[in-house]
Symmetry: C2
Subunit: 178 residues, 2 copies
């Protein structure tokens, strides 16, 4: 895939619609993938994202220790693998191997990009104030990548207990909003 750098000022448009994402982390030769739906934009630029990562997840410890992650945005074509990553724990398997994902070196952080995702956001943790109480990490996107060949990414959006909505048609309305 010919991955292209994506302007940080436009990152909010990737996360605002609420796609299920896969968060990659790495430490001491271990790497992991976590499926996540609980995230929100918090600032446009530099892009800040609030991510709720439960302390019951293997990724929690990796993120807390390294302060780095990549937010990878998948589409419906790989939905089963995305759910597979949500059903398993990185404490006893390498999810890249188990699910056949390709790890690609990131530019600014140590965790790898997932090649099979159409967008990848390299992130650094910038605020841990709310981690103890809510497992909420505030991360800054420091580098963003996109596959320019994917014009209408059919992202998936969790509705609970394995039900997902797939991104449908696009509409354009007159808006003064960013």
């Amino acid at each position: 895939m010919a991955r292209k750098a994506f302007p940080l000022s436009k990152v909010y448009g990737l996360l605002e619609p609420g796609p299920v994402v896969m968060v990659t982390t790495a430490r001491d030769g271990r790497r992991n993938i976590m499926t996540m739906s609980w995230h929100t934009m918090m600032e446009f630029e530099p892009p800040l994202v609030g991510c709720v990562i439960s302390d019951r997840n293997y990724s929690f410890g990796l993120l807390k220790a390294t302060n780095e992650c990549v937010i990878n945005i998948p589409t419906v074509e790989i939905a089963e693998k995305v759910v597979g990553c949500g059903n398993t724990s990185g404490s006893n398997i390498d999810k890249f191997e188990t699910f056949g994902f390709t790890a690609k070196r990131a530019a600014e952080v140590r965790p790898p990009l997932i090649e099979e995702c159409f967008a990848n956001l390299e992130c650094r943790v910038v605020d841990t104030t709310m981690v103890a109480k809510y497992c909420l990490f505030v991360v800054e996107v420091v580098k963003a990548w996109i596959d320019p060949a994917v014009k209408k990414p059919r992202t998936i959006h969790h509705l609970g207990t394995g039900n997902f909505m797939v991104a449908g048609e696009k509409i354009k309305l007159k808006s003064k909003m960013k």
Copy 2:
């Protein structure tokens, strides 16, 4: 509309997919509607939601003073009005009148429900620790309503600058996830 109480334990399934929502607030006979995309679930039950509401918005002051709001979830049928609420400020208009929305009394809080939305979440602010730095309010959903006639709500999801994705098909995958 025959509005039905909705279990608090299932509220996460309404907000996880990332719909554009309309937040209603009220104080001293003034009421307002704010269009919002920056929100995330933070806890299943009681349902906690993180909401980023900029201090440049009229709603910020109302929410800060009263600690109550309703999160109303619209569908594509009223998309133009939703964007209209985003393009205007409640400091000089009553958006219910301007856009022809029907205000309905809530059960637990003072701000009104928007009748034209298929789901309404009555909320109380429970944590303001991150308001000064990030305009992030943590709210608890204390009462939830849904229109049971709406089986496949075509929610709208902001992609930036007036572009929206409309909720498409549903798929079901084998998931251990809540």
